[in-house]
Each structure stands twice: as structure tokens, then as C-alpha cells.
């Protein structure tokens, strides 16, 4: 009598011969070991989330500053306080901007390290450069006329656009990571 091996293997696993490795047990302490590995890997594992949150908070801060500024302008038209308020907004704006730019740079370097695709790098470099040029132009106008709400909004928008771009890069990095993993398998 003949039977099909494939059907035979579909039977319940538990009747397996105890001599087979199927019955082998996980080594003791595997859980603690895993916790260690998990924590060790974690430090580099979720930076994108933290950055994401940072940008979200930064954007919210910027929007609220500009809103507060708008309300302040509307209710207390041309008060002497305004001259005190303006430099404050400028400094706050600059501080947030500085953090933004530093993170963008860091993220950029990480991205370049991860890929050898020159076309991709150039495309993102151009996108970032264009936005940076725009930003500089708006910033110059903003310094000349700190009362212009539209300029503040444009600056916020520009930073938000770069935020979006960074998200795109991160998606690319993810895809690249998978590609690198697959390539490693080829070796």
C-alpha cells in the first residue's frame, strides 16, 4: 500500500518521534536574553517615531505662535508692547528653525549613508535645496516686515513641507533597508 508523504505530514504534529529535533526545547533564560537584545536594538530602532513627534510638536508650537500673534495684533492694535513682542517671536522662530535644520541634516546624512542611488540622492538634495532657498527669501522678508502674518505662515508651511519630505525619505529608507536585507541574502 502506498500513501502520499504530503498527506502524512499534514497529520497532527504531536505524534512525532521524541528523538526528532521537533521536540527540542528553548534554552533556559532565552526570555531574559531576548529582553536584553530588544533593549539593545531599541536605541536605534525607533528614531523616526521620535523625530516625527518632534516635528509635530514643533509645527504645533509654530502654528500657535502665529495664531497668538494674529490675535494679539487684532486685539491690541499698534500698542507699544508690540515692539517687545516681535523680537520674541523672531527668537522663538529661530530656535525652532535651528532644531528643525539640525534634524534635517542628521536625517539627510543617515539617508545618504544608506543608499548609493545617486539619482535618488540628487532628487532629494534638489528638493531640500529649493525649499531652503524659498525659506531664506521668506525669512529675509519676514525680518524686514515682522508684522506680516502671511510671511510667518509661509515659514511654517515651508518647514512643514520639509517635514513631509523627511517622511518621504524615511519611507525610502525603509524600502532601501528591505532591499539591503534582500541583497545580503544574495551573498
Amino acid at each position: 500500500m502506498q500513501q502520499d508523504i504530503r498527506d502524512l505530514l499534514k497529520e497532527d504534529t504531536h505524534q512525532g518521534n521524541p528523538k526528532t529535533k521537533i521536540e527540542s526545547r528553548l534554552p533556559n533564560g532565552h526570555r531574559d536574553e531576548f529582553i536584553k537584545k530588544l533593549r539593545a536594538s531599541k536605541t536605534n530602532q525607533y528614531p523616526s517615531y521620535k523625530l516625527d513627534w518632534f516635528y509635530k510638536i514643533a509645527a504645533v508650537v509654530l502654528v500657535s505662535i502665529s495664531l497668538a500673534y494674529m490675535v494679539f495684533n487684532a486685539s491690541e492694535n499698534e500698542t507699544p508692547e508690540e515692539t517687545v513682542q516681535n523680537p520674541k517671536i523672531e527668537t522663538q522662530m529661530m530656535a525652532v528653525e535651528k532644531k528643525f535644520l539640525a534634524s534635517i541634516d542628521a536625517e539627510w546624512e543617515r539617508f545618504v549613508k544608506l543608499t548609493e542611488d545617486k539619482v535618488l540622492i540628487d532628487r532629494y538634495r534638489n528638493k531640500l535645496n529649493d525649499l531652503a532657498t524659498d525659506y531664506d527669501q521668506i525669512a529675509t522678508q519676514f525680518k524686514a516686515d515682522p508684522n506680516d502674518i502671511i510671511l510667518i505662515e509661509s515659514l511654517v508651511e515651508n518647514l512643514q513641507k520639509r517635514l513631509q519630505l523627511l517622511k518621504d525619505i524615511q519611507i525610502h529608507i525603509e524600502i532601501l533597508n528591505q532591499k539591503i536585507n534582500n541583497d545580503a541574502k544574495l551573498l
Binding site: 502524512l8 505530514l9 497529520e11 529535533k21 517615531y49
Partner: protein
């Protein structure tokens, strides 16, 4: 009541360590058994744990069109195959044989053999045969999937499986004879 895997995955996506450990606790035994089919105990444990870490890193790419278990298993099998390749698995095989049409009868063996006999025989086979037989017979992957996992053309996968199958039947025949049937 245990949390649903759906909830756990959501928390894993948010970077929650407790959820990751719960997923680990829930799946480690089963995944270890899978990994043990390819590697020795210690290596299997490491590959399994690496697989979990990898799965958590790319949890965003998990889509619920497959079950989480099978998604995870695939990652862990890939990890095992990587490990085998790193260590010793012969990758390049020159194809000298012509492609033959797979016939379902090729898998038939004597009914007096049981599942344990087959598993034992597979386990004792040469590594390249063992891997392909595991992937096909035990994990139930098709040639397309096997070709992706081993990074070989589908045609090679078929050829290798055929060789593995012939070897397996040979082994089983020997066992059958040795047992004095």
C-alpha cells in the same frame, strides 16, 4: 482575556516594549520549533530572536492580508536561511538535469511508514535537501515562495526538490529495509 493580536500589533507599532514581549511570549515556542528544523538548538534560538527583532523593526510593513504568525514565520525562516548561507549552505548548483514534469505519484511511500519516520529521515539528510524538503513539505511553501526565500530561480527550486525527494525516498526505503519489514 488575552489581548487580541491586532491590539498587540498596534501597540508594537507604537514602540511598546510590553506588547513586544507579549508577542514574543505568544509565538516564541512555535517559532523556535520552526527554526529548529533548520539550525541547531542554540543557533535556532538566536535566529528566532533576531527574527523577532527584525519583525518589530519592520512591523509597519505587516499588512493584515496574511496572518501575523505566517508573516513572522516567513521572516524567521529567512533569518534561518541567511544563517545557513553564512555558515555553509552550498548555494550554487549546476543544473545538469532536465526539468521533469512533477507527478503526484512521486510522493508516495509505503503506508507502514509514519510521520515520525519521515521527519527523522528529513532531519538526517544533507543540508540542502533538508532545507528544501522542510520548506515544501513542512512549511507548505510553493516553488514561487521557495525561490524567493532561497533566492534561486523557480526552476532550480523544482530541480532541487526533485533531488531531495529522490533522496528522501531512498532514505525511507533503507529505513524500511533495515527495520526488517
Amino acid at each position: 482575556m488575552p489581548e487580541s493580536i491586532h491590539t498587540l500589533i498596534k501597540n508594537v507599532k507604537a514602540g511598546n516594549e510590553k506588547a513586544m514581549l507579549k508577542v514574543y511570549d505568544r509565538y516564541c515556542e512555535g517559532m523556535f520549533i520552526v527554526a529548529s528544523r533548520y539550525l541547531s538548538t542554540e543557533e535556532a534560538k538566536d535566529a528566532m530572536q533576531e527574527g523577532f527583532l527584525k519583525a518589530f523593526t519592520k512591523i509597519e510593513s505587516y499588512k493584515s492580508h496574511s496572518t501575523f504568525g505566517s508573516w513572522l514565520k516567513r521572516i524567521i525562516i529567512n533569518q534561518c536561511v541567511d544563517e545557513l548561507k553564512k555558515n555553509r549552505l552550498e548555494l550554487s548548483e549546476i543544473e545538469t538535469e532536465h526539468l521533469s514534469i512533477e507527478d503526484d505519484n512521486y510522493w508516495s511511500v509505503d503506508t507502514r511508514l509514519n510521520k515520525a519516520d519521515v521527519l527523522m529521515a528529513i532531519e538526517n539528510m544533507k543540508e540542502n535537501h533538508r532545507v528544501i524538503l522542510n520548506l515544501y513539505l513542512i512549511e507548505g511553501y510553493d516553488h514561487q515562495e521557495i525561490s524567493e526565500i532561497l533566492n534561486i530561480p523557480v526552476k532550480t527550486s523544482r530541480t532541487r526538490l526533485r533531488r531531495g525527494r529522490l533522496q528522501l525516498k531512498e532514505q525511507l526505503k533503507q529505513k524500511y529495509n533495515a527495520a526488517g519489514y
